[in-house]
């Protein structure tokens, strides 16, 4: 029995070595290729800056549910974007508070009596209000509650332009964000979706509609999320973008071709990760129908969102994300090991499967394996400590690289003290924060059945 356990532990340790080496190689590739791509895109940036052009008309969709605290500010900030032709469509998904009334009162909206063609199925509208503010058409659609995906489907039905941008009600854009996110459409005819870069608003100092300074707030939880966001958005997504393999375009800021989304069936109302599910759906739709397509990622298109400031809110947000990831991967399981999907199947899907969805279970199992090895006296503690320290340093440098890229691309001002803080936070995030997320994700699995179709709410500040 003891021999069998020893053999078992041997193979477990080999598995973990391979698992970590693959992850380390992935991180290394992500950072290197990400930096190279940013360097190359910077080379043509001067050309692009010179090539001023008229703006492609877009519809901006803002689904809202009980957002009375932030909705007016959000709409106001979206009315002063540096973009010539866009419309704003706020979809009130049956809020229980006065979200709709606040918008109607603030912008002096008038009820409109018009039909919306329901190309995508969604709960019916109860009232439509319209006005024009600063030459920007603003529409408010009140509808019965059906979830975020359902609200977005309504917005797509009402949108009047060939491309639409979906946003969260608490997100804010930089003045040039719409111009930036539309740019890939001008560069490639096959674009069906573009993802933007999400930054945490608590860390940014704004001037004239543009973020100019990056400063960590006192809240450690927010700081660690900021580090995590930059690693995610400036490493793995750029790498996957090189082979058109991104599986997530954040619901907080993404641009889509309306006709492609309608043809693919729109958002799934019952999915907590409706943003990821739509991207997977578009991959499947285009590949199954042999439609040439591209989903791009545009790191210079900035969207600012509020990060949860308490463990409770973080718990709720990450639980939703993880359940959404699980639902999306399960619904689109046919992508896995499917030659038709190429690297989307054999790289992106497997990455999300093993390093996102399964990672909490694998990491938890690892802790048990260490305890078992210690119990059986086969644990090389010296080696384990050295390895963990080196791996932590490696992870910290990866995070630091991603973070410094972000500072450099956005031309943010940072002080020396901020840089020292960054180093400390990158280490803390790698050593501490990821284990909090392991617990949250495991809880998401355990409590999978509960509140599967609710809007995620965090306390607004």
């Amino acid at each position: 029995m003891a021999d069998m356990l020893r053999v078992f532990i041997y193979y477990v340790s080999v598995f973990y070595l391979v698992y970590l080496i693959v992850f380390a190689a992935f991180s290394f590739l992500s950072i290197s290729i990400g930096a190279y791509k940013l360097y190359m895109s910077n080379r043509v940036l001067r050309y692009k800056n010179k090539l001023k052009h008229d703006d492609l008309p877009v519809s901006v969709l803002i689904p809202a549910y009980n957002e009375s605290v932030t909705i007016v500010n959000s709409v106001n900030s979206l009315l002063s974007l540096d973009y010539q032709q866009y419309e704003l469509i706020v979809i009130d998904d049956g809020s229980e508070d006065d979200t709709a009334q606040k918008i109607i009162d603030t912008f002096d909206m008038k009820q409109a009596y018009r039909q919306i063609e329901h190309k995508l199925t969604c709960e019916p509208e109860t009232a439509i209000y319209e006005t024009v503010v600063n030459k920007v058409p603003l529409t408010l659609i009140c509808k019965k509650n059906g979830g975020k995906g359902d609200a977005l489907n309504m917005g797509i039905n009402a949108a009047g332009h060939p491309y639409f941008v979906c946003m969260d009600a608490d997100s804010k854009l930089q003045a040039d964000s719409l111009k930036e996110i539309v740019a890939p459409v001008f560069e490639d005819d096959e674009i069906v979706a573009v993802g933007g870069m999400i930054l945490i608003s608590q860390c940014l100092q704004m001037k004239n509609g543009k973020a100019v300074r990056y400063r960590f707030p006192p809240n450690l939880l927010v700081c660690m999320q900021a580090v995590e966001y930059s690693r995610s958005f400036l490493a793995s997504r750029i790498l996957m973008d090189t082979f058109n393999g991104n599986l997530i375009i954040s619901g907080a800021f993404g641009l889509f071709q309306r006709s492609a989304v309608v043809a693919a069936g729109g958002y799934s109302p019952n999915n907590l990760g409706e943003d990821m599910e739509l991207v997977l759906k578009l991959h499947r739709f285009c590949r199954n129908n042999k439609i040439p397509y591209r989903m791009s990622y545009q790191p210079s298109a900035i969207c600012m969102t509020q990060a949860p400031t308490t463990f409770r809110d973080l718990w709720s947000q990450r639980r939703r994300w993880h359940v959404g990831l699980f639902q999306s991967l399960v619904v689109h399981r046919r992508i896995m090991f499917n030659l038709k999907f190429g690297l989307v199947s054999f790289f992106s899907y497997l990455y999300y499967m093993f390093y996102e969805l399964m990672s909490p279970i694998i990491e938890l199992f690892g802790i048990f394996a260490i305890l078992l090895a210690a119990y059986m006296d086969v644990l090389n503690i010296e080696y384990m400590i050295v390895f963990l320290v080196i791996y932590a340093i490696y992870g910290t440098i990866i995070s630091l690289s991603a973070f410094s890229k972000q500072i450099y691309i956005q031309k943010f001002r940072v002080t020396f003290l901020d840089m020292i803080k960054t180093l400390f936070l990158c280490a803390l995030e790698f050593i501490f924060f990821r284990y909090i997320l392991v617990v949250v994700r495991i809880a998401a699995f355990i409590r999978y059945g509960r509140n599967k179709s609710t809007w995620g709410k965090i306390k607004r500040v």
Binding site: A24, N42, L56, I390, I397, S401
Partner: protein, 247 residues
């Protein structure tokens, strides 16, 4: 496993990767900084070159009014043909030329009139037709911004620009249409729209209408010409034509 030397080799690899990443970060920052430096030098060079060209006019020996001093035109033409195939130079030249246009409109028109006669801009259009999409777009944008460059070779230049539409993106197509509109080439505009239709190239009606509204030739002639043909074109083009000339 515990005493396996491969373990320590693995740790060594991780350490090497850490160092490589740190070096890589510094290298990227350094290269990013170097990227922006040469642009300023090119602009300075073209500002000086155009200053020389226009200053001769301001001096006692006027060259532009009655033609350049022998040798000056051909030397400058050779310089344009040598340097401008580089898009970085083209951008710097555009900026310098814009400065002249804003500050000395008379000197600018004399300069453009002189060099449009030499067909230098047409030759450059051919050179750019063999370049990448973004570079072609830059050249079409240049012609759209300085339509006087096509003063005497409107039709030929429009033909060269239309060839840019092969394997192009919306940026490029918009700029080609804009250039044809700004130089006032009626046939060129009709050909561009016909190509958009034949190849089912996406162009939003608003973008089309904005560019067509900027046609520098006879708007009513263009309207008549496009009105007859637009019935056979796709919805986006037809709607753009109708929105401009429908009334």
């Amino acid at each position: 496993m515990a005493s396996d030397p491969r373990i320590y080799a693995l740790i060594g690899i991780f350490m090497v990767a850490c160092i490589a990443l740190i070096v890589f970060n510094f290298a990227i920052v350094r290269y990013h900084k170097r990227q922006t430096a040469p642009a300023a030098g090119k602009l300075k060079m073209w500002n000086f070159e155009l200053y020389k060209q226009t200053a001769i006019k301001g001096g006692s020996k006027s060259v532009i009014r009655g033609g350049m001093r022998p040798g000056t035109t051909s030397r400058h033409e050779r310089l344009l043909l040598r340097k401008l195939p580089n898009a970085e130079h083209l951008i710097a030249y555009s900026e310098a030329l814009q400065n002249v246009k804003d500050r000395q409109p008379m000197a600018y028109s004399s300069y453009m009139s002189t060099y449009s006669k030499t067909a230098v801009f047409h030759k450059l259009a051919d050179v750019y037709s063999r370049k990448s999409c973004i570079e072609r777009t830059c050249y079409a944008d240049f012609i759209g911004s300085f339509p006087e460059a096509a003063e005497l070779s409107q039709g030929q230049l429009a033909d060269s620009l239309i060839s840019y539409i092969d394997d192009s993106n919306i940026y490029c197509r918009t700029k080609v249409l804009r250039a044809c509109c700004r130089i006032g080439s009626l046939q060129g505009v009709a050909n561009v729209l016909q190509l958009f239709h034949d190849r089912s190239l996406f162009m939003h009606k608003q973008l089309l209408a904005n560019e067509l509204a900027d046609f520098s030739g006879d708007q009513s002639l263009l309207g008549e010409r496009l009105w007859d043909e637009c019935k056979s074109w796709n919805d986006n083009i037809s709607e753009a034509v109708v929105s401009l000339w429908g009334h």
